[in-house]
């Protein structure tokens, strides 16, 4: 009985999701079996050849490692900065709390492309950051966007900046759901800030933290805009990440099959993150 009644309500979403989520997923994955032949201008069946080529591709391995560094450092930094900010924004001793909280949200509303433009300007060789560094007496400030050792980290900074508002607001909501007297009791017992957070706060808002870490890791791993606008993966692939590498193959070189192979590896990594999350939550 219930099922028949639920169907009309779920049907529109279900139909749309089948057309634009399930079918494209299967279709996109199946592209890996084909390769583009420039001579004939056609896509021909090539079996698992794209995967064979992929595992011999040193740029792919490099982009994979970059993507892991990009995701883990971004999410870790976002989390620590946001946690600190959220606990401060939650403090009863802070004045103008509401105003501060609203201002914190600002980077969230900006399009990724605009965020990237802003940081590209900040990191220009003769731009604001290097001018400030020169003022502080740094003789040779790094060429943030063109030094192969620095370029990826430059992108990471921009990404952290963009992610802070969402993470902060979610943690703040978690903190607000805590009973005030727990923290009060900890303070009376003489617990330090660090002890209170690690022993009491983090365990009590573990569920929120898990969902934030999962979503933010997925979004960061899939993120395209910042690296595309800041460095295009350069110089010489130094800051190449998987989404950009897949795009370059699929739309720069028309090798959709090779792009799909990269995408499938990404899918496997991300689905394992989701499975980890579900297992952790179901426990």
């Amino acid at each position: 009985m219930e099922e028949k009644r639920a169907l009309p309500f779920v049907a529109p979403a279900l139909i749309i999701l089948c057309f634009v989520s399930l079918y494209p997923l299967v279709q996109g994955i199946s592209r890996v079996l084909y390769s583009f032949r420039a001579l004939t201008g056609k896509n021909v069946y090539s079996g698992l050849q794209n995967f064979v080529l992929l595992f011999r591709d040193s740029v792919f391995v490099h982009a994979l490692l970059n993507s892991l560094v990009w995701t883990v450092t971004s999410v870790a930094a976002m989390f620590f900065v946001s946690f600190l900010l959220a606990t401060m924004l939650n403090s009863r001793h802070l004045r103008f709390r509401r105003a501060f909280r609203t201002v914190t949200l600002i980077p969230w509303a900006l399009p990724g492309v605009v965020v990237s433009l802003i940081w590209r300007y900040i990191f220009l060789s003769g731009g604001p950051l290097n001018t400030a560094l020169s003022g502080l007496g740094v003789t040779y400030p790094p060429a943030w966007l063109i030094d192969p050792h620095v370029a990826l980290w430059t992108c990471i900074v921009a990404n952290i900046w963009m992610g802070i508002p969402f993470v902060t607001i979610m943690i703040l909501a978690g903190l607000q759901s805590l009973e005030g007297d727990i923290l009060e009791a900890a303070a009376i017992d003489g617990a330090s800030y660090l002890q209170t957070q690690v022993r009491i706060v983090v365990p009590s808002i573990k569920k929120v933290i898990l969902i934030i870490l999962t979503l933010e890791s997925i979004w960061t791993f899939n993120s395209f805009d910042i690296v595309f606008v800041l460095t295009k993966g350069g110089p010489a692939n130094a800051s190449m990440t998987l989404p950009l590498y897949a795009y370059t193959w699929a739309y720069g070189s028309q090798q959709a099959g090779y792009g799909a192979a990269i995408g499938i590896i990404m899918l496997l990594i991300l689905l394992s993150v989701v499975v980890l999350y579900i297992r952790e939550v179901l426990q």
């Binding site: 529109p12 494209p24 996109g28 605009v114 802003i118 003769g126 001018t131 009060e184 606008v229 959709a256």
Partner: protein, 275 residues
């Protein structure tokens, strides 16, 4: 409990430093939009003296800005409307009915978050091509709606969960159908939740870059994020003044709507996550 005054000052200083880190980059954008190229490079961080509006005139008069603005507005608002219409009943069903496949449906919604853009764009390209929707606004609307759906359904389910079930049961005893109950009792109570979905899908669609870049192939069909990226990559020396003016024009409309809707978005997101 009182806080030591020194500690309290330190707390405020620390918050201000972090807020400055979040706000100062945006201020730079505003400054640049009001400066000439020479002024920008003479003092990369300075407050503009002798404000010029030329950058804004250049952007609006030249290129495809206005056409691309129109595209962005159409796509974003269609996405919002479609997302609200589709997610409200789905969120309601997830919240109120126990049906077979309910858990599977929820898991699927979470899993969609993990699908890499490249796979989806390769697959969707094929679907859209069949219906002649490549380079067409409806094609992009469908894509954006599909990204907005999972999160919005989840958000609304959380919202509906908080509305006491007795309200509709009373109405149904009075002879109301499920749909009537949803439309005339639940939805009016869920306006904040619906506004959260609207704000979320508006931001998502207005800011989305990757799919618009791949699907919208001609200058006239670009949306604003693609316009900005092409502006930057158009070759030669980057004209930071006009580019910043354009970026501001892209940001401001949706930023104002965001400020109006953020309250609902924040409580909607956090309401779902905390439970």
């Amino acid at each position: 409990m009182r806080m030591h005054p020194v500690k309290q000052v330190l707390l405020h200083v620390a918050v201000l430093v972090m807020i400055a880190f979040l706000v100062f980059p945006v201020l730079l954008l505003v400054f640049n939009s009001l400066k000439t190229q020479t002024q920008i490079f003479a003092s990369p961080m300075g407050i503009p003296h002798g404000v010029t509006w030329d950058n804004f005139r250049t952007v609006i008069a030249g290129g495809t800005f206005l056409v691309n603005l129109r595209n962005s507005v159409i796509v974003a608002f269609s996405t919002v409307i479609l997302a609200v219409i589709v997610t409200a009943p789905a969120g309601y069903a997830l919240s109120r009915f126990k049906f077979r496949g309910r858990t599977a449906f929820s898991m699927w919604l979470l899993a969609t978050q993990a699908f890499p853009g490249i796979i989806m764009v390769l697959g969707l390209f094929t679907v859209l091509k069949v219906y002649g929707l490549i380079n067409q606004l409806p094609g992009l609307v469908i894509m954006h709606t599909s990204f907005a759906l999972p999160f919005s359904i989840w958000l609304l389910k959380g919202y509906f969960d908080k509305i006491p079930i007795d309200l509709e049961e009373a109405a149904r005893i009075d002879g109301c159908t499920r749909l009537r109950a949803l439309v005339s009792i639940i939805l009016p109570l869920s306006v904040p939740g619906l506004l959260a979905v609207a704000t979320f899908s508006l931001l998502l669609s207005w800011n989305e870059f990757f799919f618009a870049l791949v699907i919208m192939r001609t200058n006239e069909s670009w949306t604003l994020p693609v316009y900005l990226a092409r502006f930057l990559g158009s070759g030669g020396v980057v004209q930071w003044g006009p580019l910043s003016a354009a970026a501001l024009l892209v940001t401001i409309p949706v930023f104002i709507l965001f400020l109006l809707g953020q309250r609902y978005l924040v409580s909607g997101l956090t309401g779902g996550a905390i439970k």
